[in-house]
Point group: C2
Chain length 330, copies 2
């Protein structure tokens, strides 16, 4: 049942073509990734895909080496190629001046990306499920993410070749599946540490929202689906230019502000990383509407927008240092 639902979601709804693909599964040993690995083990031969598992030992807890050995044994028993990386997450966090959670994510994604890049037609498959999506929507609401980003993380991200096959599956179904198959799962105690915003959202905010609407999980899936449809529509509504960072003033004048604002975001993304402030985008748009030729707007990450007579031109100043983009941090 779970397997067929995941196949219908991944292949039917998201349009993933599994035939001949290699799925690199991010395998922490927690319930989500164990169930993802089990489900994809069933689906891979059926759909003509190839499966491998990737485990990162964060070295943050004394038992992590033993957990890595268990993960390896699990994959050996299931005949799944296993890759392990020992990362000095604490050292990376110090070196970069970031939190342990961010450093762990960096280390994992770097390893997955390395494996994925070395194989033709490979995808990274991650175990995020519907309760993670609910958290992600709240995290984005807190950060002030607009639409359609507010709908939450992608289930199929072609630019980073990431799949999230369990994104419409409630955590309770995953736990029930793991129980029914007696799958061995590791519980990471840091998931309850209130030092992390994600855990505060999970443990303090989400239960209060779920108490108001016991069917909030369905609302989460609905919002996500609407965002996906709207994102596709909005993308299709945006005109294409030879240079996405040089927007002809003539064309802008004929567009609805809803599209102009999104063209600015696209142009800024094309210049490099750095989160744009919506307030600055509103001001820029007001200036564009007034054709305030010569005005220059500054954006984070050393980017600028200059209103010219013919075009609005976005540039990265030389020496402009990119800041990490929040939307990509999941």
């Amino acid at each position: 049942m779970l397997c067929l639902g995941v196949e219908e979601f991944l292949v039917g709804e998201c349009g993933h073509d599994p035939c001949g693909a290699t799925w690199i599964v991010g395998f922490s040993g927690g319930p989500d990734s164990v169930v993802l690995l089990a489900v994809l083990t069933v689906l891979a031969p059926r759909l003509g895909a190839h499966l491998e598992a990737a485990h990162v030992d964060h070295g943050l807890r004394p038992e992590s080496a033993a957990e890595a050995a268990d993960a390896e044994a699990f994959c050996a028993a299931w005949n799944i190629p296993f890759h392990e990386r020992r990362a000095d997450v604490a050292g990376l966090a110090r070196e970069r001046g970031i939190g342990l959670e961010d450093a762990g994510r960096l280390a994992r994604y770097a390893f997955f990306e390395e494996l994925r890049g070395a194989r033709p037609n490979a995808w990274t498959a991650l175990g995020h499920q519907r309760d993670d999506l609910a958290e992600d929507q709240i995290m984005r609401l807190i950060r002030g993410t607009g639409w359609p980003g507010l709908g939450g993380m992608a289930a199929l991200d072609p630019s980073r070749r990431i799949l999230r096959p369990l994104l419409m599956t409630p955590r309770s179904d995953i736990e029930a599946f793991a129980d029914a198959l007696s799958l061995p799962v590791v519980r990471d105690p840091s998931n309850n540490d209130p030092a992390y915003r994600r855990n505060r959202v999970r443990n303090d905010i989400l239960p209060r929202i779920a108490a108001e609407n016991p069917r909030h999980g369905e609302a989460v899936a609905r919002l996500w689906r609407q965002a996906r449809i709207d994102e596709d529509f909005l993308e299709a509504s945006l005109p294409d230019f030879p240079d996405p960072t040089a927007l002809p003033m003539e064309t802008l004048a004929g567009l609805h502000p809803a599209l102009r604002l999104r063209l600015y975001r696209r142009a800024l993304r094309a210049c490099g990383p750095g989160q744009a402030l919506a307030e600055t985008l509103f001001s820029l748009d007001a200036a564009v509407a007034k054709r305030a030729t010569g005005r220059v707007f500054q954006f984070p990450g050393g980017k600028t927008a200059r209103i010219g007579r013919r075009a609005l031109v976005f540039r990265l100043k030389s020496g402009g240092s990119g800041t990490r983009e929040n939307r990509r941090s999941h």
Copy 2:
């Protein structure tokens, strides 16, 4: 300062034409409505508008009659025409089988609407401010409202002729303004009663979100503005038909699902009250895409959609009883 900001918002941003308008201010005596009345008292002569105050005595607390007398005295001192209605809110709640909060809202809106309808070019002005909007966004997230409804209540609702001039003003600015002018304000103790979802959102959920992002109020305003722009864009993107409840299959086939889904909602609204389930709309859209002629879908409030060869037709079944529409409940 506050007055100029409100004028810029109401007239500049929302496009309200105040000249010759009558503003019926919903005046509870709480800080929001007192400050709204004070601000509009300053703006009315400046903008050529006329001001009246409307107070509903809910009869739920022993002190409510005294508060009504204070409200009347305040308006007399400021030379503002004052209208009062004593409502049996508890009786209305029993009679309709609804909560006290909903019954109070019904009684207030009925009174405001009565006054508004009796005057040419009149608008009801309500004291909702930015913190109410933040609550409204969370309430809508809990209910599972989609985009652009998720952005929150309107500042200018032409269909019901409602204005919310303080919608971009933080509660803290309103309190500071009331303090600075020593305005007499009433505190309704039921605002802290956890029996109401709104109060649980206000007192338990929102402070946790604000703790994660102290600038969440700005994010609220941003999301609201984006929703307003997108709503305008989406409305402008929808084709008009002679009968909004009969959608030509030929036209539907050429539209993006993002627009088709919104056309269904518009058709359902045109049939009468009743909240549509997004799941049913997704199923309907899948059937329309497959041209499943003859299929019929049921919607709350006794409404149906039938896929014909030429058109998708929405109808209210005779005897179909309308349920109150959630989106209108604020």
